[in-house]
């Protein structure tokens, strides 16, 4: 039988991300997929060898534009654990709030891209209009829409006044109500059910074997969430990870959809529990240079991210490594793509929420 090889990416209409995938087809059926990683490799991890560790935070933020806050936070949390810096309480809560707001914006971005990929352009615009409101919150509080630069080793640089936090919460809750309508459309529209339902089913066993993370694993029925371990004040938050059991593309969309109201609720809890008042300490500056090594795990919108940092007592770190969620989800994605129809490949790839900037760093 004659086989065809179709290059999927680096430029493909459905995906703004330069994913490089060679699809080996037998007629219309994909029988194998070969990913290539490194098309947009920038060598950011190696930059620690010549960028001072205090300045590296700004580079780490630029690994990816969508999870930039969480990347900056993960880097700072890692170095704080090496240098035994106690972060002020209010700074920790502010980080948690920003992290959850960035989850909302990331999921809205993805839902929009997903809607665009299966031809629902109207819904795409609605999702991105809502996302724009979230970005406005970021710009008001951190000073930047995408690159926030508020995380420093030992705390955060900006405070958000209590009245402003209440206003932000009100705005997010209003957005949550608007989003309810959008999620009803996602859940009930026949064209969406037809394009996503039953496509790319990842069983619980397969998700476990391929070590899928984040919404990908949760859509296959695995109750996994790094936030459950309670680090970064998540032990004081009451929440239950969103788990779906179907494991298909629709389930992955539904997990992300249900996580948006959940994140808004986490923001509400955080605002209730954080210490109130003006002029509370926000930063404990570290002294000296770091010595030691550490692993840090965070739950990014796309799943678990893992940072490894090794410091040798100089102002340059010896090693910095980030294992990003998309990288962890690639084996599961390849498994899903094998055996599906060519027309379903874009949807399957999109529902893992690929971030190639993160993956290739």
């Amino acid at each position: 039988m004659k086989r065809t090889i179709i290059p999927f990416g680096p430029q493909h209409p459905v995906l703004p991300e330069p994913l490089v995938l060679d699809l080996i087809l037998d007629d219309e059926k994909v029988i194998d997929a070969v990913p290539t990683i490194g098309y947009i490799h920038r060598g950011l991890e190696m930059m620690v060898e010549r960028v001072e560790y205090t300045e590296m935070g700004f580079v780490v933020e630029r690994i990816c534009g969508i999870c930039s806050f969480m990347h900056g936070m993960g880097y700072c949390v890692s170095l704080e654990s090496i240098m035994n810096v106690e972060v002020p309480e209010r700074a920790k809560w502010l980080r948690l709030i920003w992290a959850e707001i960035s989850r909302v914006q990331s999921h809205l971005l993805w839902l929009g891209l997903g809607a665009d990929a299966f031809g629902f352009e109207n819904l795409f615009m609605h999702c991105w209009r809502m996302r724009e409101e979230v970005l406005d919150i970021f710009e008001k509080t951190t000073g930047g829409r995408i690159i926030h630069s508020v995380n420093r080793i030992g705390g955060v640089k900006r405070d958000v006044s209590d009245s402003e936090l209440v206003a932000i919460l009100a705005r997010l809750q209003e957005l949550g109500k608007t989003f309810e309508e959008t999620s009803r459309i996602f859940a009930s529209d026949p064209s969406i059910a037809h394009r996503l339902g039953g496509i790319g089913v990842l069983s619980k066993e397969d998700a476990y074997e391929t070590a899928a993370v984040g919404p990908m694993a949760r859509a296959s029925g695995i109750r996994t969430d790094t936030r459950l371990y309670g680090a970064n004040l998540y032990d004081q938050i009451e929440f239950e990870p969103v788990v779906e059991t179907a494991g298909d593309c629709l389930a992955r969309a539904v997990v992300r959809m249900r996580e948006i109201p959940q994140s808004i609720d986490i923001v509400r809890q955080a605002i209730e529990k954080m210490p109130k008042g003006e002029g509370l300490p926000l930063e404990n500056k570290p002294r000296g240079n770091p010595v030691g090594e550490t692993f840090t795990r965070l739950e990014q919108p796309r799943g678990e991210v893992l940072y490894y940092i090794k410091a040798n007592g100089t102002k340059y770190l010896e090693r910095f490594r980030a294992r990003t969620p998309t990288f962890a989800n690639i084996p599961a994605m390849i498994k899903l793509v094998k055996g599906c129809e060519l027309a379903d490949v874009p949807n399957i790839i999109l529902t893992i929420d690929p971030c190639i900037s993160c993956t290739e760093r």
Binding site: R129, E139, T141, T142, G143, S149, D189, A193
Partner: protein
């Protein structure tokens, strides 16, 4: 199961027909920047003591300071607006304006002016302040 006669999108589609667009006619209609937004670095040559801390701490190496010649130079196209120089400035000579940097056009690069290049010459003892600004920065 999805209903083939689903009309969930209809109320919103009707609302959209009568509501204002969510977008702006950008060049004609510009949004006022938020108060805390990080836009462009502003420099006050009168108060600077040329300690060079901003140049040393700038992660993007956008600032060059020469203490002997009393010059303070910023390349706005290198600047990542991280606010570090503003934080470290002991004399409060640096401020972050919330106005974003203006885009450059090829016409800006005339007379040897580099786009985004802004240069300040501080007062030599008992001399007047002069400045030469790059265009469009």
């Amino acid at each position: 199961m999805a209903n083939p006669l689903n009309l969930a999108m209809v109320p919103r589609a009707l609302r959209n027909m009568v509501s204002r667009p969510a977008t702006r006619r950008y060049p004609a209609e510009v949004r006022t920047p938020f108060d805390g937004a990080r836009g462009k670095i502003e420099f006050d040559v009168q108060t600077c003591n040329y300690c060079m801390l901003c140049a040393r701490r700038c992660p993007a190496a956008a600032i060059t300071v020469n203490r002997e010649e009393r010059t303070w130079v910023i390349e706005h196209l290198r600047c990542i607006a991280c606010n570090v120089c503003v934080e470290v400035c002991a004399k409060k000579s640096l401020t972050m304006s919330n106005e974003p940097r203006k885009p450059h056009t090829p016409a800006d690069a005339h007379d040897g002016h580099r786009p985004g290049h802004e240069e300040w010459h501080g007062p030599a003892p008992e001399a007047a302040v002069t400045s030469s600004r790059g265009t469009g920065a």
